[in-house]
């Protein structure tokens, strides 16, 4: 039993019960895919070489020199956020369950407006390289940086494992490579991009990938719609005829109100607490470009989710029950109409159905590029937490030399890359459906509350942030472990101790209440100073006066 990409790339534990059975069959070598993939790798390595020559200081390394425009950053954010999961996982979910796929993708989008209204500009005005800069702005550096770095690294590693395992399986399927070789290849390329090209190379890899993914998905959606004279009713009618009418209505994805709220909170506030996403706001010059980034990113991501919905339905009408894509061996055992490689391959098969071998190759290469772009962003964020927060701020008390800090960052990148490869291989056979869900839960329960309250609540103190943030982190982790995705599906117990799959409603509340309680009861002298420092911080957050890298007028 191999729980495949579906589980890993897909985000919360929703996919837990849907492990695809049977070993992953390697596909025959796909030449057009390999050639296009090599072109992509060649081009991105050339960009890395170009970027390496421009990456001289720590600022260049972490923020691409701060000179990325709002539009470019919006595209890069979209490239960072639209993982192979969104593309293959959501189109597979639409293919399998219809409307539920749309509900799921909407959850991933609605965090963006909140990021814009509440976080983006203030983050740009207060921070330098990592979100911990903002969280610890007026609080004690050592405890807050350590907690924030821990939250970042935990999020990054959980997310990375899910991406690496998914990448290995996907590449095995698409290119016919061995799992281990695929994982090592992804890890090595990611290390090369990040260590040599830093944020500049990572940004351009993400921009190119976003462009390729959006173009490919647009072409597929148009090709599907052209078959139905661009009439949605005809497409849906045909899909209902192929499956049944339940695909047009909400199904079992969100069953009870508590889970619905909890999932919504995790997705919404988790997005606003993902370190690799928050870091992207430091690559632009000022608050204006930061807000433009979110506008473009929301547009690209929203457009992309609408495309995946059309692609999922396209796969129902063109791939489902199509003898060309039918997995005969599996059908003989399980019945039904399974497709080759499982539901995750729905979009890939559709690319073949609408564009032949050549387009199949293109989409396969795009899927690989997608993984590379996402893991590079993650690794850079993890390495920054280690070098900027732990090394430079905690260990060297802010007195680290910029070049030394950059060196530590590069070493951290290589180590994270090796850890990711190792864990990617170690977790090949594991059911790790809970990992991305846990990453979002931690981001929503530890990173986001501290960041948000540090910006808006004058009475926040170090003690409150430290205890409340830790409480949120622990609650999230413990409830995920005791919940159905780990306790039952991973550890094999019969019944879960905590009945809900998504802990965010409880853990986010615990964090906010904890931070509030331990802050207002903090009567220490340092707490008094921290409260007094809010005024100056608030003025800088609101106006950008004194902001790092702000344009002088």
């Amino acid at each position: 039993m191999k729980p495949i990409i579906f589980l890993l790339l897909g985000s919360a534990g929703i996919f837990a019960g849907e492990a695809i059975s049977g070993a992953v069959d390697k596909q025959p070598l796909n030449m057009s895919a390999i050639i296009m993939f090599l072109i992509f790798v060649g081009a991105t390595l050339a960009i890395t070489y170009w970027a390496a020559k421009r990456t001289k200081t720590a600022k260049d390394f972490y923020t691409a020199g701060g000179g990325i425009t709002g539009f470019q950053n919006g595209m890069a954010i979209a490239g960072d956020y639209m993982s192979a999961a969104s593309f293959l996982g959501i189109s597979a979910l639409v293919y399998g369950k219809g409307y539920d796929g749309l509900i799921y993708s909407i959850g991933f989008l609605v965090g963006w407006p909140i990021i814009l209204f509440m976080v983006a500009e203030q983050l740009r005005n207060l921070g330098k390289y990592t979100f911990a800069d903002v969280a610890s702005y007026r609080l004690r550096q050592t405890p807050i940086r350590t907690l924030a770095a821990f939250g970042s690294i935990a999020t990054v590693i959980l997310y990375l494992i899910a991406q690496m395992v998914g990448a290995g399986k996907l590449i095995q399927l698409l290119f016919g490579l061995e799992y281990e070789i695929a994982v090592i290849l992804v890890g090595v390329l990611m290390i090369l991009y990040v260590t040599f090209g830093g944020m500049l190379a990572t940004t351009w890899v993400q921009i190119i990938k976003a462009f390729l993914l959006l173009s490919g998905a647009t072409f597929m959606a148009i090709a599907v719609m052209a078959h139905y004279n661009f009439n949605f009713e005809s497409l849906f009618a045909k899909a209902v005829e192929m499956k049944d009418v339940t695909i047009m209505a909400p199904g079992k994805l969100v069953s009870d109100p508590i889970s619905a709220l909890s999932l919504g909170i995790a997705l919404m506030f988790g997005t606003a607490g993902l370190p690799h996403i928050l870091m992207r706001f430091f690559t632009v010059s000022d608050a204006k470009e930061a807000r433009k980034s979110v506008f473009y990113a929301t547009g690209f991501i929203g457009y992309f989710y609408i495309l995946t919905f059309i692609i999922g339905f396209g796969a129902i009408v063109m791939v489902f029950q199509n003898p060309q894509y039918l997995d005969l061996a599996k059908q003989a055992v399980d019945g039904g109409s399974p497709i080759l490689g499982g539901d995750n391959m729905a979009a890939i098969h559709l690319s073949h159905a609408v564009g032949g071998d050549f387009f199949l190759g293109f989409i396969s290469a795009v899927a690989f590029a997608t993984i590379l772009a996402v893991v590079s962003g993650l690794t850079l964020a993890g390495a920054s937490a280690i070098s900027h927060d732990l090394y430079a701020s905690v260990l060297r008390k802010g007195k680290a030399d910029g070049l030394m800090e950059m060196k530590v960052s590069k070493i951290a990148t290589v180590i994270l890359g090796i850890v990711a490869i190792y864990l990617g291989i170690a977790f090949e056979e594991q059911n790790i459906a809970f990992m991305v869900g846990l990453a979002f839960a931690i981001a929503a329960s530890a990173n986001f509350p501290i960041l948000f309250l540090s910006m808006y609540w004058s009475k926040l103190t170090t003690r409150g942030a430290l205890l409340g943030g830790s409480l949120g982190l622990l609650t999230a982790a413990v409830l995920v472990v005791l919940g159905p995705t780990v306790w039952v599906d991973f550890l094999g117990h019969a019944e879960a101790i905590f009945p809900y799959k998504y802990p965010a409603l409880f853990s986010v509340s615990a964090a906010f209440i904890g931070i509030w309680f331990f802050s207002i009861t903090d009567r220490s002298e340092s707490a008094q100073r921290e409260k007094e420092a809010f005024e100056a911080q608030y003025i800088r957050a609101q106006t950008g006066i004194g902001a790092e890298g702000a344009v002088e007028h």
């Binding site: 989008l109 209204f117 849906f236 969100v254 069953s255 009870d256 919504g264």
Partner: protein, 105 residues
Amino acid sequence: MKQEMVDRIKNDPDFLQLVRVRSTFAWTLTIVMLVIYFGFVLTIAFDPSVLGTPLSAGSVTTVGIPVGVGVIVSAFILTGIYVRRANGEFDELTAKIKRKAKGEA
């Protein structure tokens, strides 16, 4: 930032106006987004059949399709509304506050 500058800016009527107007605006838009999204999710949790109703008699397309796409589009439009006002009104006010802070410094 020096304390005297902090004191000056915090009493600057333009700063007070910027903060007041922008936070009201940002919170309003946030609440609109939360109401739209959690309204959508809770409708699914409490009464999924609403979204499964056909758009018109005999059609396959359900109410849920335009509603779902509408939530996506509304997220984009809300960011557009915010950015439009911030790029104009809020940035002008901010520039004015900065000029004053600099000029008198």
